[in-house]
């Protein structure tokens, strides 16, 4: 954390969000402030006009080097509900279009006087790289970079937990599945621990857990029924089939037999357990359809909350004129 600390670049001199690149390193107060702001935005959907004029006249660019319909759509809706203009740019990623060509893209967009980049990229660190090189008035939001981070997903997950459970104290949370390839898991583990849950468990076959995972502040389990015992929250992760070659799991069928979330296994958890999944769901591979669509599932609430959380980080990071001058 000491060299080029990733947390530093996203805060301004007075500790306010300037970019939103990762939740790692953000303190509890700031995480709570993001959730409180999202809570206020959740009420905007009760209006006839589901829009507030906060970012009127600002331009948000969705810069997606990797496809993700849901994430792009919710960022776009969030920006539009803040009255910003939105530009969607899908850039097919290739091994050669990196480095200078990426910066050229950024410079061209800057010349069009845009105000915010929402960046999705297959390479870890892409959003940080852009944040280090943009003009001072531009904010960068990380919409997922490689295996590294997906901070708005982590925030919408903890926001969903807070809305369903009222808080974090005393909660036992199990994160189940492909921890190794997940860009959400690390962010989530940090956020849950910073917010003071009782225990974070990770449940996965050894091949899908990073080495020394305990050092992240979690308790590892290799048996799903054991890992679900008495938990309040289950966060299922998508099996990133496109990111793994062979050898990680024997077969999808066998994975479901051992790590698929079924009604029988969920009985081990507390009776008011909530089941979460960042989507898209691999039905019958990591989760039984009856659970995904059942009464314990809050998967669609997560989607709704994603818009409020993205409105919150957009409004908090958009550069204010006054401290732009102070920073200049």
């Amino acid at each position: 954390m000491s060299t080029a600390a990733p947390a530093d670049i996203q805060l301004d001199a007075s500790g306010r969000l300037r970019h939103f690149l990762t939740v790692e390193g953000l303190n509890r107060e700031l995480l709570v402030r993001i959730m409180d702001t999202a809570e206020s935005f959740a009420s905007v959907t009760a209006q006839n006009v589901k829009k507030v004029p906060l970012l009127r006249g600002k331009t948000v660019v969705n810069l997606f080097f990797e496809n993700s319909t849901r994430t792009r759509t919710t960022f776009e809706l969030a920006a539009k509900r803040l009255s910003a203009d939105v530009l969607n740019i899908n850039i097919a990623t290739s091994a050669t279009s990196k480095g200078e060509s990426l910066l050229d893209t950024i410079r061209n967009l800057e010349a069009m006087h845009v105000d915010m980049f929402v960046v999705r990229h297959a390479q870890s660190g892409a959003a940080h790289f852009i944040a280090r090189h943009v003009a001072p008035h531009i904010s960068v939001l990380n919409a997922g970079d490689g295996r590294h981070a997906h901070p708005t997903q982590a925030m919408l997950d903890v926001f969903t937990i807070r809305r369903c459970k009222g808080g974090f104290a005393g909660l036992k949370v199990a994160i189940v599945g492909d921890i190794l390839h997940s860009r959400v898991a690390r962010s989530e583990i940090w956020a849950l621990n910073a917010l003071g849950v009782d225990e974070v468990r990770v449940v996965a076959p050894k091949t899908l857990l990073p080495a020394h995972v305990e050092s992240l502040g979690v308790v590892p389990y290799h048996d799903l029924s054991e890992g679900l015992r008495d938990v309040d929250v289950v966060i299922m992760l998508r099996l990133q089939l496109e990111r793994m070659g062979s050898a990680f799991i024997p077969s999808e069928h066998e994975y479901f037999q051992r790590f698929g979330l079924t009604g029988r296994r969920l009985e081990k958890a507390k009776s008011d357990v909530i089941v979460m999944h960042p989507g898209p769901i691999n039905r019958g591979i990591e989760i039984d359809s009856a659970i995904a669509d059942g009464p314990r599932s809050v998967i669609l609430q997560q989607v709704t909350h994603g818009i409020a959380v993205r409105m919150a980080v957009m409004s908090m990071t958009m550069r204010a004129g006054s401290d732009m001058e102070a920073a200049a």
Binding site: A46, L54, S315, A320, G321
Partner: protein
């Protein structure tokens, strides 16, 4: 300006009387009340109880409608707006603590109209002070004060509700 002029109880009573008079004169049936966070909401809670409105009290946080967001950024203490009634066709009593520049009321009116099209809106404020920057006036006020440009009047609460005049700074 003496401290006696800032007696919140007396100001509340005068505002309550003025609102009763206006509601009767304009024949505003089944009105709903909205308080502006934070001070206006405290005042509205008292008036809502005293006037015996049947609709639950509504709350507005106008942070998302402020006109100074481009200069000062996001209000870190934003609360949720909550209007637990239909706005369309409704008579509304909008309550704030201090009417000063008029910008807060402008923002509140814009937000109310994003919820629907009200029939009539009555603006009631505890204190009407000089310094308007846009043409907005209160229908009812508990009291009026003249202050120097550098002076601010601040309501603290909710228990007890107290008014104080401060000079300089924010």
């Amino acid at each position: 300006m003496s401290q006696a002029d800032l007696d919140v109880d007396a100001l509340l009573t005068r505002l309550e009387d003025a609102l009763r008079e206006v509601l009767a004169r304009r024949r505003l049936d089944a009105p709903a009340m909205i308080g502006v966070h934070t001070g206006g909401a405290w005042i509205a809670e008292v008036l809502h109880r005293r006037l015996g409105f049947s609709e639950p009290l509504g709350y507005l946080d106008i942070s998302f409608y402020r006109d100074d967001y481009p200069q000062s950024g996001m209000n870190p203490d934003v609360r949720a707006s909550k209007l637990p009634f239909r706005v369309d066709g409704r008579n509304i009593v909008l309550i704030d603590d201090v009417l000063y520049t008029g910008r807060t009321v402008r923002a509140a009116l814009n937000e109310i109209f994003d919820y629907g099209r009200p029939a009539e809106i009555v603006l009631g404020v505890l204190i009407d002070r000089n310094g308007r920057q846009i043409p907005i006036q209160a229908d009812c006020a508990g009291g009026r004060v003249e202050l120097e440009p550098g002076q601010r009047i601040k309501l603290t609460g909710p228990e007890p509700l107290q008014l104080a005049i401060r000079t300089g700074g924010r």
